[in-house]
Amino acid sequence: MKEIFEFAVDVFLTVFQGGYYHLLYVLCIGVILCLPKVPRTYKVMFLAYTGVFLVLYFFPVTAKIIIACVGSDVYWRMFWLLPIPILIGYAGVYLITCSKRKMVQAAAALICIGILAVSGLNIYRGGAFSKAHNLQKLSQECILICDQMEADSGGGNIKVVVPDALVTEIRQYDAGIQMPYGRYLMHLTADSPEVRLHEQMIQPLVDSEMVADLVRENNCNYLVLLDEQADGQSLEQLGYQELGRAGGYILYKDISIVEQ
């Protein structure tokens, strides 16, 4: 029981660290309770809703049931049920319109907006967005590599192994391309060919012979490496032809499959 409560507290702290919106929420509960103009029914509603939510969230019995249903790794999504923007916005409006004088209201609005801004982090200054180079919003290298493989294969089967940075993008662009592994490998055993291949692919400089064998063991006919990872001469001797380059990546084709 104690562990579940502590887990719930940890999740709470994780969700709200970096900002002060949880404190603003509590403050706004106090504001709407104190302001006479706020309808009593809404005072009761917001207070009761918050109270019941907190009981469900922190009480070990209910927390355990909810965790069993949704999973402990996403228990933090319970906070989507808390009407944080709604309550803060609601309290803010009543604070701003306390006075009937427009200059006072304007000043109050600016103060409220300022408090809201400093209590969080501006998403446009937090590095969330970058410039898009295409409508798919994928890296241009991913698109170029996929297009090169499609042009080369002439409609045939494509199975490629790529560095981790491209693993999450390839099949978003072209779901006809197969890969030996995706984003997660924890379901595979340590000695599986996919895991052994991945271990090579994350090396700063790959062992060409080992990679060549593992790529073939995984039935891949294409290989992409970072420029600094690859020993082109060795790979060529092992039956890999350089097909093209895109950004810092080199695309190889296993020509031994064609020759067989």
Binding site: G18, F53, I113, L116, N122, A128, L138, E169, I177
Partner: protein, 344 residues
């Protein structure tokens, strides 16, 4: 490109309004306006997709079959709305728009902020690794004409359906939009859907504001302004609904967090905090079913939210009608919860 854009406009904006206008018969006469019609249209379409998709997936039907089924059902709903409300639609065609006499500067600021947020999300790029499943699933259905038969991560055949996701086939809905508009799923998800989802989220907040402030336009405008600032400032945590809305609006869990859960909150305010006619519970039922489509979290979180309201107003308030109806609208979610726990 022009044809694709026109088809997108029709599927994302025109059709939901037409269908929603038919569904607003479940609201009070005074509130049957375009805003209600739009959101009602979406919860209707999402519910319909969920009802058709789940059996289609488990029967291993081809994706194109679901596209045909859903399109046919949508056409029937549209026809119903156009025929039943033909006088109203004829009135819309004859409507002459007048500029409002007193333009409220607060609303201009709000609209500019919403436009700016939408533009940045649509034109900017945010890389999210969850898309290696969600967008790749849409791309896989679109390419392979199958549904949850192929592993989105690798392209290999699934040994069994992915239990965490198969009951919430929102990526298949994205694949459907790609099929009927011609846009690639990655384009549909990353560039086009933000143009829908962000304004839709603010529409829900607008309805909440109107409800809380009893239709006071100035207070509602101020409320919307503060909501905008809160959303923009929500990046202090990657877990907030505001962050999800602005950087991953095409993902089902974002639709749940930023649109459907607030809409359920709004409906609970109307139905449970106040008194409503029985038929208005239909909107809540449709929204609960919609939540099933968008995310596996949509199975339990809406139930908990409605549950909190029915504890307060049904149980503690000793209103047995609210208690009964509140439990009733949760039945689809509880059934899905049982199935989810069984297959997990």
């Amino acid at each position: 490109m022009l044809v694709k854009a026109v088809l997108t406009g029709i599927w994302l904006f025109v059709i939901p309004i037409i269908i929603g206008n038919g569904m607003v018969c479940f609201t009070k006469q005074s509130e049957r306006k375009a805003g209600h019609a739009f959101i009602y249209g979406y919860v209707t379409m999402f519910s319909l997709f969920q009802i058709l998709a789940i059996p289609s997936i488990y029967l291993h039907l081809r994706f194109q079959m679901l596209v045909n089924l859903y399109t046919s059902a949508v056409i029937v709903l549209m026809a119903g709305s156009l025929i039943v409300y033909r006088k109203q639609w004829l009135g819309v065609l004859k409507y002459k728009y007048h500029m409002p006499k007193n333009i409220n500067y607060i609303w201009i600021l709000v609209l500019l902020l919403i436009l700016a947020q939408t533009a940045v999300s649509a034109l900017g790029m945010h890389v999210d690794e969850d898309d290696s499943f969600f967008v790749a699933t849409a791309a896989t259905s679109w390419t392979d004409n199958s549904m949850f038969e192929i592993d989105a991560y690798t392209g290999a055949a699934y040994e069994q359906f992915p239990s965490r996701y198969v009951l919430s086939p929102f990526p298949i809905w994205i694949a459907f939009l790609s099929r009927v508009t011609g846009f690639h799923p990655a384009v549909m998800a990353h560039t086009i859907l933000p143009v829908l989802m962000i304004p839709l989220a603010y529409l829900v907040y607008y309805l909440i504001g109107k409800q809380l402030f009893r239709g006071d336009s100035k207070k509602t405008g101020l409320f919307m302004l503060l909501i905008s600032v809160i959303t923009i400032s929500s990046y202090y945590s990657v877990y907030t609904s505001g962050t999800f809305l602005l950087i991953r609006s095409w993902q089902g869990k974002s639709v749940l967090a930023a649109i459907l859960l607030p809409f359920i909150f709004y409906l609970c305010l109307r139905l449970l905090h106040e008194k409503a006619e029985t038929r208005e519970w239909m909107a809540l039922l449709l929204t609960m079913i919609s939540s099933l489509l968008v995310s596996s979290m949509g199975i339990m979180l809406p139930v908990i939210m409605v549950g909190i309201f029915i504890i307060i107003y049904g149980l503690l308030g000793r209103d047995w009608k609210k208690l009964t109806y509140g439990i009733g609208v949760c039945i689809p979610n509880l059934l899905f919860a049982a199935v989810y726990l069984f297959i997990r």
